[in-house]
């Protein structure tokens, strides 16, 4: 068990080093950092001075080591467009993205699981077929179209919800939250629904498929033979076994929710990391792009690691295969 955790942790560190090399290569070689920082009328001597002060004359491995040591301490250099440290910008934007992604995941799980159970138990009902059709449309429509549609309906036509921004936020140290004000909650509804929709259809289809499979197994038949109530069988026995893979998928998907937040944040002008990243791509602000890549990769890799370890803790069958000598 410990060996497995160690091996997985080493793998994760390997991935992070690979991503670090990519981020450094982008940072150093895509465009000239000095040209981005100085004015047009800067003399060559001044340019050389800037170059030396940034350490760009050192050998590449030395520069990489320096970048790496800085990155581990979350120092990612200075943004070309904002002239501020990238880490400060990311820190300022991170609460918005994490709050949005968490809300989206919660919405996706609650509604996805409920709809999945319904369409498995009443699989021939009209409403279940409607749900299946809607889920296909949900997968086919690009996120930004769904967001625009919601804005047109609830902000332009009905005027119920704000179309952009986070509303009023409350500060806790460096963390800001919109969950404690009415306007913040109202602003959160449409973006998190938009972001969660794809995950919701995914979870719904997964729960439906798993549930249908579990309902066919012998122990469910045995439970029926024992004369248990349908409710006890469905929710006490079947659902429990359905939820393990669902929680895994939802956990693993949290990383891609953060990445897909790029699109949702742009549609709703949500002041998170994704919007910062899109603006950085448009303005070729390489330090922000490289830092975003590193931070998001770190979140991905950490989640994958935790889910993998939790999975072996939860499911004894997996533990057996891991402990068996290969």
């Amino acid at each position: 068990m410990l060996a497995f955790i160690l091996r997985r942790a080493l793998q994760s560190i390997g991935v992070m080093i690979a991503v670090g090399i990519i981020a450094f290569t982008m940072f150093r070689f895509a465009g000239d950092p000095v040209n981005q920082m100085v004015a047009i009328d800067t003399t060559p001597a001044q340019r050389a001075e800037v170059r030396a002060s940034l350490g760009l004359d050192d050998p590449v491995p030395v520069q990489f080591a320096r970048y790496f040591i800085n990155a581990v301490q979350f120092k990612f250099g200075v943004s070309y467009q904002f002239r501020q440290p990238v880490s400060a910008l990311l820190k300022e934007r991170m609460p918005a993205t994490l709050e949005l992604a968490t809300c989206a995941t919660v919405i996706a799980m609650v509604f996805g699981i409920l709809m999945g159970i319904y369409s498995a138990l009443r699989k021939d009902s009209f409403f279940a077929k409607v749900l299946q059709a809607v889920s296909l449309i949900g997968i086919s429509l690009p996120t930004f179209l769904i967001g625009i549609l919601l804005i047109y309906l609830f902000a332009v036509t009905l005027g119920w919800l704000p179309s952009f921004g986070r509303g009023d936020v409350v500060k806790f140290g460096w963390w800001t939250t919109g969950l404690l004000t009415i306007s913040g909650l109202k602003a959160l509804i449409m973006p998190s629904v938009t972001l969660g929709l794809f995950q919701m259809t995914l979870i719904m289809r997964l729960v439906r498929a798993e549930m249908l499979e579990v309902l066919r197994t012998d122990y469910i038949r045995f439970a029926r033979a024992r004369g248990l109530t349908t409710r006890a069988i469905h929710f006490g026995h079947a659902l429990k076994n359905t939820l393990v893979p669902v929680i895994t998928v939802a956990g693993l998907q949290f990383g891609s929710v953060i990445a897909f937040a790029i699109i949702t944040e742009t549609v709703f002008q949500w002041p998170g990391m994704g919007l910062l990243f899109v603006q950085a791509v448009q303005n070729v602000d390489i330090p922000i792009m490289a830092a975003y890549l590193l931070v998001v990769s770190l979140i991905f890799v950490t989640i994958n690691l935790i889910v993998d370890i939790l999975y072996t803790v939860v499911d004894p069958r997996l533990r057996a295969t891991i402990n068996r000598p290969a």
Binding site: F144, A259, I262, N283
Partner: protein, 312 residues
């Protein structure tokens, strides 16, 4: 008994009509509708220059007096602008046909690039094995952790910073194709590698090796055709994904420029007029994009089931 007709080899068309796949195609009404929609949209995109009322990319043909006209069936509608016009007097219907062209070109080229790259790497990984295999598959594993849209955005951003921020439209198109290709190759590589691992132990490969065919010929002429079924399914589903990715990139402002808009660019432009009540500028490109993607997805789903021997 003597009159029994000699069975003739049926023509290719007759064989196609008689095949299992065509049978399952005719049995599914939804698939036939989807195929019809894809076909019509494809033809409209292909023959766009003949079907439009103006060339939306030619500034000389745009008249400002024709700007902001609502669709034909509304009170302020005007001929010949069926779906209305935007602020520059661009006919929405014409812009959609040309935009669909760009979306389809980027989608098809992107998927082809991804397929060639993925199939090539998958063949090499599966056939050669060893360290090469591990290297390619580890890269694939790492890339699979990240969503394609993030990778495409990064590649797009890096290429732009390397080539300068202001690219002309056709260079942007190539950048998009490369970004999409590099984001979607993993699935092909994994599938092909799996099939190759199975196929390469079969007798026909051993026979080919015995008569001294070079590995390249065995891989491409003999092993590859046996892996084509799943590849076709992935390519169809990926086409929808590639079109979504292109539209998303264009919507985010790092895709096709306003001078040569794809459907995604048209939606981004239309988004600016959402609050001024000119809903048609965004609604029709959105509708075109949605129906294109939905129909391709339906075709892909059907193809997956039709080619899956377990379901028959």
């Amino acid at each position: 008994m003597t009159d029994a007709p000699i069975p003739r080899t049926p023509s290719l068309l007759a064989r196609a009509i008689d095949s299992d796949i065509f049978y399952s195609f005719r049995r599914s009404k939804l698939t036939m509708v989807a195929a019809a929609i894809v076909f019509v949209l494809l033809m409209m995109a292909l023959f766009a220059p003949v079907l439009v009322v103006q060339n939306p990319f030619d500034p000389a043909q745009l008249e400002l007096i024709n700007s902001r006209i609502s669709p034909l069936w509304t009170a302020e509608g005007q001929r010949p602008f069926l779906l209305g016009t935007d602020e520059q007097g661009r006919d929405i219907y014409s812009a959609i046909l040309y935009g669909m062209r760009i979306s389809l070109v980027v989608g098809v080229l992107g998927v082809s690039f991804a397929a060639v790259l993925g199939i090539g790497l998958g063949l090499i990984a599966g056939y050669v094995g060893g360290a090469v295999d591990s290297l390619i598959m580890r890269i694939a594993d790492v890339q699979l952790t990240f969503p394609a849209i993030l990778i495409a955005l990064l590649i797009d951003g890096v290429v732009k910073s390397a080539l300068g921020n202001h690219l002309d439209a056709s260079t942007t198109l190539i950048v998009l194709v490369v970004a999409i290709g590099l984001s979607f190759w993993v699935q092909y590589a994994r599938t092909v590698r799996g099939s190759v691992m199975v196929e390469k132990n079969k007798d026909y490969v051993a026979a080919a090796q015995l008569i001294g065919l070079p590995a390249r010929v065995i891989m491409i002429r003999h092993v590859l055709p046996n892996t084509m079924g799943p590849i076709l399914v992935i390519a169809t589903i990926n086409l929808a994904l590639a079109i979504i990715t292109e539209a998303t990139l264009s919507f985010l402002g790092s895709g096709m420029p306003d001078t040569m808009p794809s459907l995604g660019t048209l939606i981004r432009i239309g988004n600016n007029y959402l609050f001024s009540g000119e809903w048609w500028v965004i609604a029709f490109p959105g509708l075109a994009l949605a129906s294109l993607i939905l129909s391709i997805n339906l075709l892909g789903d059907w193809l997956r089931d039709a080619l899956n021997p377990k379901l028959q």
